[in-house]
Every structure is written in structure tokens, then in C-alpha cells.
């Protein structure tokens, strides 16, 4: 037992070290990007007709008169203390803002990954079973289609058809205008909040609004999940135990779902975790289309007014989420796969 533990501990230390270095590099990157901006950050704060004195004051306050490495150390100090400065638009600390909008995006992304996995995994399995037949080709085109659509455009067309045309779903935003402010904010996950408050009308309205953006986002991530599922499944189907199970008299469906599927579960979990991270990218665009008050909209609205401080904090947080998801998928792999124990 002991040597295994030591080896695991060693791997843990190695991994922690590599995460630390990546995080540090992330900070350097955000710092550098934040500095190469051609627009003057001091001007953005003091305004066009500030006196020279005021300008100089702010200039010094922000630490621009110091050498670059000292500025970086100051930046590092702020980050370690979770002090990301104040957003120009809201006048609140950036971190408070982000924590406020993040639940909306998590809600959207979680629904989307349910759609993506719910679509991608069965399709991938079906494609593997019907390898090279027309079903396989059809599934390939269908899933690549989702991957090739510009998500902001799909969102508009979706709104045009299902909201304006058919009236099946709610339009922009997280709920109907009518209900805004009715439910007390507790977790800021609207579905949870409204359920907690027992406001079922709000709950339905929220559900009605999330269906379309989440489905489109999920469809866009289904391609990756389908492809990976198909390839994992093909690996299994070619193995002897599958033949054995078939010889024993199990039907093709039973063999695939009872035996082969169990063996690809672990790989699928890690794939889905990674796909979850890439949903953030789509969220930036689809939130703009659906006026979804989440992380993506916060990022783009600050981009347009040139608040680099808020933007770089968003970028930093996305990077951290990505690293965390990688770590989680790695961990899940180790927990679920007995061979790695």
C-alpha cells in the first residue's frame, strides 16, 4: 500500500506544481494583454476634460509611473487578495459583478450540456453500431452541422422561427419582463430561486426561456461528443467480449448498452467535462443574441466600453475555470477507472 500512496502523492505534487505554473503564466498573459491596449486607461477614468493635475494623480494611483515588473507585482498582490478593481459601468467590484452574473451562465451551460450529452451519446453509439451505413453518414452530417453553425446566427433564426413564428418558446432574457423582480434572489439560479419561493409561474417562464438557447448551445457541442462516443464505442465493439456476449444470445442492443457502454462510461465523463468548458465560448455569443444577463454578456458589454480591467478579469476567470475542468475530468477518470487506482 505505502509505495502506491507515495507514488500518488508524488503525482499530486507534480500536478499541483504544473497547475501553479500555468496559473502564473495566465496572470502574465492577462497582465501583458491588459498593458498593450492603445487606448489610455487613465483617460477612460478621469474623462476628456480633466486637468493635468487630476490626470497625473490617477496616473500615479494606478501605478503607471513605476517600472513594469513592479506593476506586475502589484497586480499579483491584488489578484492574490481577490481584488480585481472596480468596473466602470456598474461602479461595483468586478468580482462581485461576475459572481452575480455567473449563475445565469452556469444555468444555461448546464442545460446545454444535458442536451449535448443527451443528443451526442446515443447518436454516437448508434453511429458506431451502424458504422459506414447511411445512418452513420447522416449522423455525421447532422452533428457536424451543429458544429459548423455560427451560434449567434442560429440563435436569431431560432428566435425567428420558434418565438416570432410559432410562439412555442419565450423570447429574450431569462424570464418574461412581467416577472422580473418578483422572486427574491438567493442563489441567483433562477430555476432554483423560483422553485424555493414556490413561484411556479416564474419557474415555467424561466424554463420556457432557457429551452431555446440551451438547445442550440447543446446542439453545437453535440458534434464533439458524438464523434468521441462513436470512436470509443468502435474500440469496444471490435473486442472479443462483445462477440462472446452475442454468442451467448444477447441481442445487439443489450450487448451494447449493458456491456460495452459500461466500459466507455469513464471516457465519456471526461469528454463531457471538457465539452462543458467549451460551452463558455458559445455562451458569449448566444447570450448577446438572447439578452441573457450572464457572464458572456457582461464580458462583451465591458469590451464595447473598453473597460479592460473587467475584461481581463473575465478572461482570467475563464482560464481558471478551464484549468479546473481539466483537473476535474482528470480526477473523475481516476475515481471511476479502477485501473488507475
Amino acid at each position: 500500500m505505502a509505495p502506491i500512496h507515495r507514488r500518488q502523492f508524488g503525482r499530486f505534487v507534480e500536478q499541483a506544481g504544473s497547475i501553479f505554473i500555468t496559473l502564473f503564466g495566465l496572470l502574465i498573459l492577462t497582465f501583458v494583454i491588459g498593458r498593450i491596449m492603445p487606448n489610455d486607461p487613465v483617460r477612460a477614468i478621469v474623462g476628456e476634460d480633466a486637468t493635468r493635475e487630476v490626470y497625473e494623480n490617477v496616473y500615479r494611483q494606478l501605478g503607471f509611473d513605476r517600472p513594469v515588473w513592479e506593476q506586475f507585482l502589484l497586480y499579483l498582490r491584488d489578484v492574490v487578495q481577490f481584488d480585481f478593481g472596480t468596473a466602470i459601468r456598474t461602479g461595483q467590484p468586478v468580482l462581485t459583478d461576475i459572481l452575480h452574473v455567473l449563475p445565469a451562465t452556469i444555468e444555461l451551460a448546464t442545460f446545454a450540456i444535458l442536451v449535448g450529452a443527451g443528443l451526442g451519446i446515443p447518436l454516437g453509439v448508434a453511429a458506431a453500431i451502424k458504422k459506414d451505413r447511411w445512418q452513420d453518414q447522416l449522423i455525421r452530417v447532422f452533428s457536424l452541422m451543429g458544429h459548423s453553425m455560427p451560434i449567434f446566427w442560429t440563435g436569431m433564426i431560432g428566435l425567428l422561427i420558434f418565438y416570432a413564428g410559432l410562439g412555442w418558446v419565450g423570447g429574450s432574457g431569462r424570464m418574461s419582463q412581467f416577472y422580473i423582480g418578483l422572486v427574491p434572489e438567493r442563489t441567483n439560479f433562477l430555476l432554483i430561486d423560483s422553485a424555493l419561493a414556490g413561484a411556479w409561474e416564474v419557474f415555467w417562464s424561466a424554463l420556457n426561456h432557457i429551452v431555446l438557447p440551451a438547445s442550440l448551445l447543446g446542439y453545437s457541442s453535440a458534434a464533439y461528443i458524438t464523434r468521441m462516443t462513436r470512436s470509443f464505442m468502435l474500440d469496444q465493439i471490435n473486442q472479443e467480449y462483445v462477440t462472446t456476449a452475442r454468442v451467448k444470445g444477447l441481442s445487439a442492443n443489450q450487448t451494447v448498452w449493458r456491456h460495452a457502454f459500461g466500459n466507455i462510461r469513464v471516457q465519456l465523463v471526461t469528454i463531457v467535462a471538457l465539452a462543458y468548458g467549451s460551452l463558455l465560448e458559445g455562451a458569449v455569443l448566444i447570450e448577446t443574441v438572447f439578452a441573457w444577463p450572464g457572464f458572456g454578456q457582461y464580458l462583451t458589454s465591458n469590451l464595447l466600453i473598453g473597460d479592460m480591467n473587467a475584461v481581463m478579469t473575465c478572461v482570467l476567470i475563464v482560464g481558471v475555470i478551464f484549468i479546473a475542468l481539466n483537473l476535474i475530468s482528470d480526477l473523475l477518470y481516476r475515481i471511476f477507472d479502477p485501473r488507475t487506482r
Binding site: 455525421r140 457536424l144 459548423s148 436569431m156 463558455l280 478572461v315 475563464v318 482560464g319
Partner: protein, 298 residues
């Protein structure tokens, strides 16, 4: 001096991979999905080259008497809010798309090759530092990182191309490194080293040519992502600026008139979808054609 050194018989790659390229194209043309991809790309290139001849109107010419006209005989895809012909604008937009694709390729290929081959050839500490750098860039979704770069540099088409290039090189570098690692120990490299060739010469003359085919394929695979990122930046107003007929930007302006005039957003969106799907299908086909492991499974 006249006799050729017998041991420097590196396989002449040029002819051989031209032939295999022809085989690949033939293979792709046989599969319906990749054939569709090839077809769309040929149409795209033809549209870009001949757009002054095909276009029915000047893409920048405003006609305020005739705004938001629905698709019909005079304007195949209708007109936009300033009365400009959407069909002609789409045609000229294909030039922008092709510009983005080729510039990104020209920038990303060499950077990725340089980082990858140098890291792979020297190994050790150089490798560690360079790959760590690559990993940091890889730890962002490409759109978010491009957003940050464009925000810092200022919105314009050129800056969008720079930003996309800055985020697109890491996968290339990883691939070139993997290729380099497999040939680093080969006899002909050792022979070159014994002849006294400098590392720079060995990398340039012996390593890079061997990495080139797989890097080119990988670049093709990435084009779908590049196109979608560029369109996304254009949509957010960070890419090509009006009045340029960039497809993403056209969707952004058309959004305001979407409910009454569906054609403003539909056709540019379909164009983006077609090109990006073409690259995806082509990439999928290429992967099947070239990956022996996948071949066995098929």
C-alpha cells in the same frame, strides 16, 4: 566533388507527397460528404476571384429608394437597410473570408512550426519552457482569448486576424513537436549532424519538410474554427468594420431588421454555415484518409 554522397539518401519528399496529395483528393472526391466540402470551397474561391464579373450590383452602392427589398429578380437575395444588394455583398465578402483564412495560415504555420520543431529537436529545458507556454495559450477557449486581444489592440479586420493567429498556433506547435520527436533520432538526422550541420540548418532543411504535410492538414482542420471565430468577432463589432461586407458584421447589422426582413441575416448566415461545414466535412474526410488507425476501424 562531383560524386553524390551515398548515405544522404533522404527520400525525396517532393514528388512523393505530390502523388499522395493526388490520391487524397481522389479519395475525398469519392466520399459524398467530403466531395461536398471540396465543391463548396471551389465555389468560394471562384466567387472570390470572379466576383466583379458575377456581382449584379456594386456592393457599396447605396440605394435609399429601395431599402429592405425582399429577394426577387432585381436583387436575388434582396437589399439591406441602405439598399445595398445582399447577393453582391456576399460575393465580395468571400474575398474577406479567403483573406482571413490565408493570412491566418501564413502567420500560424511558421510560428507553430518554429515553436514545435525547436522544442522537439532540442528537448529538455527548451522543450519544457516552450510547451508550458503553449499550454497556457491552450487553456483558453480561442474566441475568448481573441476577444481579449482585439479589445487590447482595437477593433479592425487586421487586428482580428492577428488575434486569431495568436490563438491558433498552439495546436500546430504541439503537432510539429510530436512529429519532430519521432524523427529526431533518425539516421539521416544523425548523418547531417555528423557532417557538421548546425541545429538551425538541420531543423530547416531536414525536420521542417517532414513536418509540413501533417501541419498543412491540421491547418485545414482548424479553418472551420477560424471562420467561426472571425464571424463571431465581426458579429460583436470587433472584426471587419462597416461598410465592409464581412458576413458576421452583416448579420450584426441585419439583426435590427430581422423580424420583418428575414433575408438580411439568413443569407450571410447560410454562407458562413456552408463554408465552415465544408471545412469540417473535408477535415473529417482527411482524418479518415490519413489516420491509419481510423482506417482500420472503418
Amino acid at each position: 566533388m562531383t560524386e553524390k554522397t551515398p548515405y544522404a539518401t533522404r527520400p525525396a519528399p517532393d514528388l512523393e507527397w505530390l502523388r499522395s496529395l493526388r490520391n487524397i483528393v481522389l479519395y475525398l472526391a469519392r466520399t459524398p460528404t467530403s466531395a461536398f466540402g471540396l465543391l463548396v470551397l471551389v465555389v468560394l474561391v471562384l466567387a472570390a476571384v470572379f466576383c466583379p464579373l458575377i456581382a449584379t450590383h456594386d456592393p457599396y452602392l447605396q440605394d435609399l429608394q429601395n431599402t429592405l427589398a425582399p429577394p426577387g429578380g432585381a436583387h436575388y437575395f434582396g437589399t439591406d437597410e441602405l439598399g445595398r444588394d445582399i447577393f453582391s455583398r456576399l460575393l465580395y465578402g468571400s474575398r474577406i473570408t479567403l483573406t482571413i483564412i490565408s493570412l491566418v495560415t501564413i502567420v500560424v504555420g511558421p510560428i507553430g512550426l518554429f515553436v514545435g520543431t525547436v522544442a522537439g529537436y532540442f528537448g529538455g529545458r527548451v522543450d519544457m519552457v516552450m510547451m508550458r507556454l503553449t499550454d497556457i495559450f491552450l487553456s483558453f477557449p480561442s474566441l475568448i482569448l481573441s476577444l481579449a486581444f482585439v479589445a487590447a489592440l482595437g477593433p479592425s479586420l487586421n487586428n482580428a486576424i492577428i488575434a486569431i493567429s495568436l490563438t491558433a498556433w498552439p495546436p500546430i506547435a504541439r503537432l510539429a513537436r510530436a512529429e519532430t520527436m519521432t524523427i529526431r533520432k533518425a539516421d539521416y538526422i544523425a548523418a547531417a549532424r555528423l557532417q557538421g550541420a548546425s541545429p538551425a540548418r538541420i531543423i530547416w532543411r531536414s525536420v521542417v519538410p517532414m513536418c509540413l504535410p501533417s501541419v498543412l492538414i491540421r491547418l485545414t482542420l482548424n479553418m472551420a474554427t477560424v471562420i467561426l471565430t472571425a464571424a463571431g468577432l465581426g458579429f460583436l463589432g470587433l472584426g471587419a468594420q462597416p461598410p465592409m461586407p464581412e458576413w458576421g458584421a452583416m448579420i450584426a447589422t441585419g439583426r435590427r431588421y430581422m423580424i420583418d426582413s428575414w433575408w438580411l441575416v439568413t443569407f450571410p448566415g447560410l454562407s458562413i454555415l456552408a463554408v465552415s461545414l465544408a471545412f469540417n466535412l473535408l477535415g473529417d474526410g482527411l482524418r479518415d484518409a490519413l489516420d491509419p488507425k481510423q482506417m482500420n476501424r472503418r
